[in-house]
Structure formats: structure tokens, C-alpha cells
């Protein structure tokens, strides 16, 4: 049980990390971006590409399983993912934005997600890949409780990112512009906000977060062209549980999803595990149709 809880929290933190980027773009650009998952995958593969090009997986930074090269590769991946997001926005979302029906963008993202996933498949092949072939053996921290250092790292990183992002949204002008754009693009423009500029930054931040999530996922699990796609549901569940646009909410949502999955297996047949986050989601939405925390970008204050 203890192990299941620890595990749920830790795998929840990866979900949380992905969900932050999703909730942000969803809140500000006002559509459910189904292609967000592909940004996660893209980020993970870009880091792999950098690693294999530079050929380096130098000595890991104990006690973690990764070292400086992966951190550098992650930075490159963040840039590459942001570029991809900007390109997609320019080619697809921009022409679609401002259409009467904002779900047009959702459908556009269906299409984009198919495209990007298949391009990754063509570029990198379908087989599973890893950043490192050495297995990290979990440390026994208490009787019946084992934890991997990488997981602690993930948890810590998530916490740092959330706080930073929250401060960014609440305290900076760009953050305020993002929240204004989220509500009423035309009014934002009338008020002197260059919405294209804000949209660009939203993508850059969202995509960078996605790529970090992708790398961490690849680090603790594995790389395959479908990883993002299969993370999609937990990501959405987390974002919605927390209330769209609410970064703290996304983290809480991610943890709930992670915990629910890992604890549920102890009580119900594992075959139904996939349904558990949804049942929780349904329950929460039934009581609070806007998620646990009412969803507006930045969240927190009322």
C-alpha cells in the first residue's frame, strides 16, 4: 500500500508535468490541443536524437541515472519542440483561429496529432528505445517502500516549475497578457496587446514543458512513437480534474490520476486500471463541473 502511494505520487508527477503545459495552452489558446501529446513525444525523441548524434551518455550524476549530456539534450529538445509548436501554429492553428466555432481548432489538432505521430514513426521507427540501457535499481527507503532517485528528481522539478509558472502568470506583464488573451482576444488587441506575440510565447512555454515531460517519461519508462498518445488521456484527465487553465490544479490532478491508477490495482482487476482515472474524473465533474478548482489561467486567487 505504502509503495503504491509513493509510486502513484511519483508517476503522477510526470503526468502533472505534461498536464501543466496542456492546461496552459488549453486555457490561454482556448482549445483542447490533442496534439499536445505529440509535443511530448517529439521532445523525448529530439533529446534522444541529440544524445545519439553527440554519441554521449557520459557518466551519470549520481544518484541519478542521467548526466549532463541528457540535461543539455533536454535544452535542445525544448527548443526543437517549441519550434515545432510554432510551425504548427503558423501552418494550421493560425489560419483556423478566429473561426466562429473554436472546436475547429480541436479537430485541427486531431489531424496534426496524426501527422506528427506518423512523422516520428517514419523518422525514428516503431521500436522502443531508451536513453540508457543501465537499469536504475530502486532504493529501499523503508520496509516495503522503494523509490528511484529519478522519481524524486521528477517530483522536485515539477514543484519548481509549478511555482515558477504561477509567479510568472500572476506577476509578469506577459503572464497578464496571456490571461487577458485567454478571455477575449479582440479586447486584448484593442488594449494594445500583440496577441500573436502572446500566442507565440504560450506555445514556447507549453511546448518546452511538454518536452521536459517527454524526456522524463523516456527516462523512467521508454521511448516509442505512441507514448504521447497514450499519455494523452491521463494528461487531459489531470488538466480537467484541476480545472482548465489552473496550473496548480493540473498538478493536483496529475497526482490524483497517478495515485488512482496505482492504488486501484490493489482493489480491482488490473485490466480495468485504465478506467479508474475516468471514473474519478466523472465523479469529480459530477460534483464540480468545472474541475476541482474553477479553471481560469493562472488559477489560485479568486
Amino acid at each position: 500500500m505504502l509503495q503504491a502511494i509513493a509510486d502513484g505520487i511519483l508517476s503522477g508527477s510526470i503526468i502533472a508535468l505534461g498536464a501543466i503545459g496542456l492546461t496552459l495552452t488549453m486555457g490561454i489558446l482556448r482549445f483542447a490541443n490533442f496534439a499536445h501529446a505529440e509535443l511530448v513525444t517529439w521532445g523525448a525523441y529530439m533529446a534522444l536524437g541529440v544524445l545519439s548524434l553527440t554519441g554521449a551518455f557520459m557518466g551519470p550524476l549520481a544518484p541519478f541515472s542521467f548526466g549532463v549530456p541528457l540535461l543539455m539534450a533536454t535544452l535542445v529538445a525544448m527548443v526543437a519542440t517549441a519550434l515545432l509548436a510554432l510551425a504548427i501554429d503558423w501552418l494550421v492553428y493560425h489560419p483556423l483561429r478566429g473561426r466562429a466555432n473554436h472546436l475547429t481548432l480541436v479537430f485541427g489538432s486531431f489531424g496534426v496529432s496524426l501527422l506528427v505521430r506518423m512523422v516520428i514513426l517514419l523518422l525514428f521507427g516503431g521500436a522502443a528505445q531508451y536513453y540508457s540501457n543501465t537499469l536504475q535499481i530502486a532504493m529501499k527507503v523503508a520496509p516495503g517502500l522503494r523509490i528511484m532517485p529519478d522519481q524524486i528528481f521528477t517530483l522536485g522539478l515539477t514543484a519548481v516549475i509549478v511555482v515558477a509558472l504561477h509567479l510568472f502568470l500572476q506577476k509578469t506583464r506577459l503572464g497578464l497578457s496571456m490571461r487577458a488573451l485567454a478571455e477575449n482576444p479582440e479586447l486584448a488587441r484593442v488594449n494594445g496587446i500583440d496577441t500573436r506575440h502572446v500566442v507565440r510565447w504560450t506555445w514556447i512555454i507549453g511546448a518546452s514543458l511538454a518536452s521536459i515531460a517527454g524526456v522524463l517519461y523516456g527516462l523512467t519508462v521508454q521511448l516509442r512513437p505512441e507514448i504521447g498518445f497514450h499519455l494523452l488521456l491521463p494528461l487531459f484527465a489531470a488538466a480537467i480534474l484541476g480545472g482548465v487553465g489552473n496550473v496548480f490544479g493540473a498538478v493536483i490532478g496529475g497526482l490524483i490520476v497517478g495515485l488512482a491508477e496505482s492504488i486501484s490495482v490493489l482493489f480491482i482487476p488490473a485490466g480495468y486500471k485504465l478506467a479508474v482515472p475516468f471514473m474519478i474524473l466523472l465523479l469529480v465533474l459530477y460534483i464540480r463541473p468545472t474541475g476541482i478548482f474553477a479553471g481560469t489561467v493562472g488559477g489560485g486567487k479568486s
Binding site: 488549453m26 496524426l114 501527422l115 506518423m118 480495468y272 475516468f278 465533474l285
Partner: protein, 314 residues
């Protein structure tokens, strides 16, 4: 009848079956604005419901009632209605993306039940050897397919007529009003929750009907038939055809399915053998491109929303 004609018959059976699903979705999304992303779940309930009722008795399975096919399909539809009622009561308060994720989750859960509830659904193995209606009366599989195409076409035509008539009456206006502004509709004496539930159930029942027809044709169901990708395919059909228009729904179903099938054929013919194994990915890329390009250049789909709902308003 062989060759291309035989394939065409086969193709149309499948495409028209999907067109019924798309019409069901159209009534939900195109007219009422319900973002049902769990299409495949209701298709599955209709299919399994029919399969369990029509199937022969088997020792290790609970079902196997061996009922006549039409009754089994009706049973499958009734089951769908019940499921949609329950799902609808739980989720229809949610807006757009929220509803989408909730229904998506429900579809996954339905598929998991199909996968894990072995004694009822046959589990991962599925239900095998289901009788096909009136199969014995035909001397060749080809003529049987022709007959089945007739059945499916008549059903699709009936559904089209029924929906088109209903949608171009005040009922259609009611759906649109609920879609546009629920608060206003409520202040004008309508109960949007009831309207949405009604439409949701109706749409899902149509999906169930299509599921039943699918089972009758393939003679087999397994959880693999109901992967989430099918929901995406159905949505692509609706978008390409043009939501808010039943003709668009049919055109979209046939068109997208044709593209899907034809692109496979074209790729297997044109692509050098050494690259054949990339063909699948290219095919999916084509579908992705189709969706994106349609949205950009024909935002209302091939046919687009009918301008005025009620024919009486002209």
C-alpha cells in the same frame, strides 16, 4: 460478380454502416453541440448487444440466446439507449471538451468491459461464429453481400429521411437553440437538460444500430473492433462531410472511408516494395492532412451546415 464490383459492394456496406454512426453523431454534435468523443463505446454496445442476443449457445458464455437477427439488433439498440441514458444523466451537464473527455473515458471503459468480462463478451477472444441473417438463402457470398448492401442502404436511407424530417421541423430549431444558448432557451421555457438527454440517447441508439449491422455482416466481434481510433475516424468523416448536415454525414462517411481504403491500395501499388512497410504511416499522414486541409480550405466541410433549420421558416 467479382473483382472491383465485389469490392465496391463490400466497401459500400461498411461505408454506409459508418454513415449511420456519423448521422447519429451529427445529430449530437452538428445540431445540438454535444461533443461526444465516446462514439465507439456505443457502437460497441450495439454490436455486443446484438452479438450476445443473436449468438448460438456456448458453454463458457452467459449469453447465446440465438434470437432472430432483427430482434437482436433492436435489443442491442435498447441496450444502447439504456447505456446512453445512464451516461447522459452523469455527463451531459458538462461543456464541450469536458464532455468529450468524459465520454472518451466511458468508451474506454466500455471497451475494457468487453476485454475483461470474459463470460459475457468472450474477453479478448471475442464472440466467434455468429450467424449472419438469412445467409442460408443465398447461393454465393457475393449475392449475399449484395443483399446485405440492400439492407444497410435501406436502413441508412430510413435514418436519413427520419432525421432530415425531424431536424427540419421545430425540433431541429429546439436543438439548435440549446446548442447556441442554454440560458436563453431555459428562460424561454425549455428544459435543455431534457433536450440534450433526448438527443444523446437518440444519437447513441443510431450508433448501436450501426453496431448491430456491423456484427451481422462480419459475424464476429472482439474488443479490437472498438479501439479509440474508430472514434477519430468517425469524427473525421463528420468534419470532412460537414457537420450540421445529414447529407454531409453520408458523403463524409463514404468519402473518408474511400480515401482510407484507396490510399492503401494506391500506396501498395505505387510505393517501391522496399518501402512498403512505411505505407501504413503514409496512409495515416494522408488522413491527417485531409482533416487539416479540409478545416483550412473548406471549414464547413464538403457540404456544410444547412442554412435554415426549419423548412417552415422559409
Amino acid at each position: 460478380m467479382t473483382g472491383f464490383a465485389a469490392y465496391l459492394v463490400f466497401f459500400l456496406i461498411v461505408a454506409l454502416t459508418y454513415s449511420i454512426v456519423v448521422m447519429g453523431l451529427n445529430i449530437q454534435w452538428g445540431y445540438t453541440g454535444l461533443f461526444n468523443a465516446g462514439v465507439v463505446g456505443f457502437f460497441a454496445i450495439g454490436a455486443y448487444g446484438t452479438a450476445i442476443l443473436v449468438g448460438p449457445d456456448r458453454a463458457h458464455l452467459i449469453g447465446g440466446f440465438g434470437l432472430p437477427f432483427p430482434i437482436a439488433v433492436l435489443g442491442g439498440m435498447a441496450l444502447c439507449a439504456l447505456a446512453a441514458l445512464i451516461v447522459g444523466l452523469a455527463t451531459l451537464r458538462l461543456r464541450e471538451e469536458y464532455l468529450a473527455i468524459a465520454t472518451f473515458g466511458i468508451a474506454i471503459s466500455i471497451q475494457l468491459v468487453a476485454l475483461n468480462f470474459e463470460s459475457l463478451t468472450g474477453g479478448a477472444q471475442g464472440l466467434v461464429g455468429l450467424p449472419r441473417p438469412l445467409f442460408g438463402l443465398f447461393d454465393s457470398p457475393a449475392s449475399y453481400n449484395l443483399f446485405y448492401l440492400g439492407v444497410v442502404a435501406v436502413m441508412a436511407g430510413l435514418v436519413y429521411w427520419a432525421l432530415e424530417t425531424a431536424v427540419r421541423s421545430p425540433w431541429g430549431r429546439l436543438l439548435k437553440a440549446v446548442r447556441e444558448d442554454e440560458t436563453a432557451a431555459r428562460s424561454l421555457g425549455r428544459n435543455p437538460a431534457r433536450v440534450r438527454l433526448e438527443v444523446f440517447v437518440l444519437g447513441c441508439v443510431l450508433m448501436g444500430l450501426a453496431g448491430g449491422l456491423y456484427v451481422g455482416f462480419i459475424g464476429y466481434v472482439s474488443p479490437l473492433d472498438f479501439l479509440p481510433i474508430l472514434t477519430f475516424q468517425i469524427w473525421a468523416m463528420l468534419i470532412v462531410g460537414g457537420s450540421g448536415n445529414n447529407r454531409g454525414a453520408i458523403v463524409g462517411a463514404v468519402g473518408v472511408w474511400a480515401l482510407w481504403a484507396m490510399s492503401g491500395l494506391a500506396i501498395s501499388r505505387l510505393l517501391p516494395v522496399a518501402y512498403q512497410s512505411q505505407g501504413g504511416a503514409i496512409q495515416v499522414i494522408l488522413i491527417g492532412l485531409l482533416i487539416v486541409l479540409t478545416l483550412i480550405f473548406r471549414p464547413r466541410g464538403l457540404i456544410g451546415e444547412a442554412e435554415s433549420v426549419s423548412k417552415h421558416a422559409d
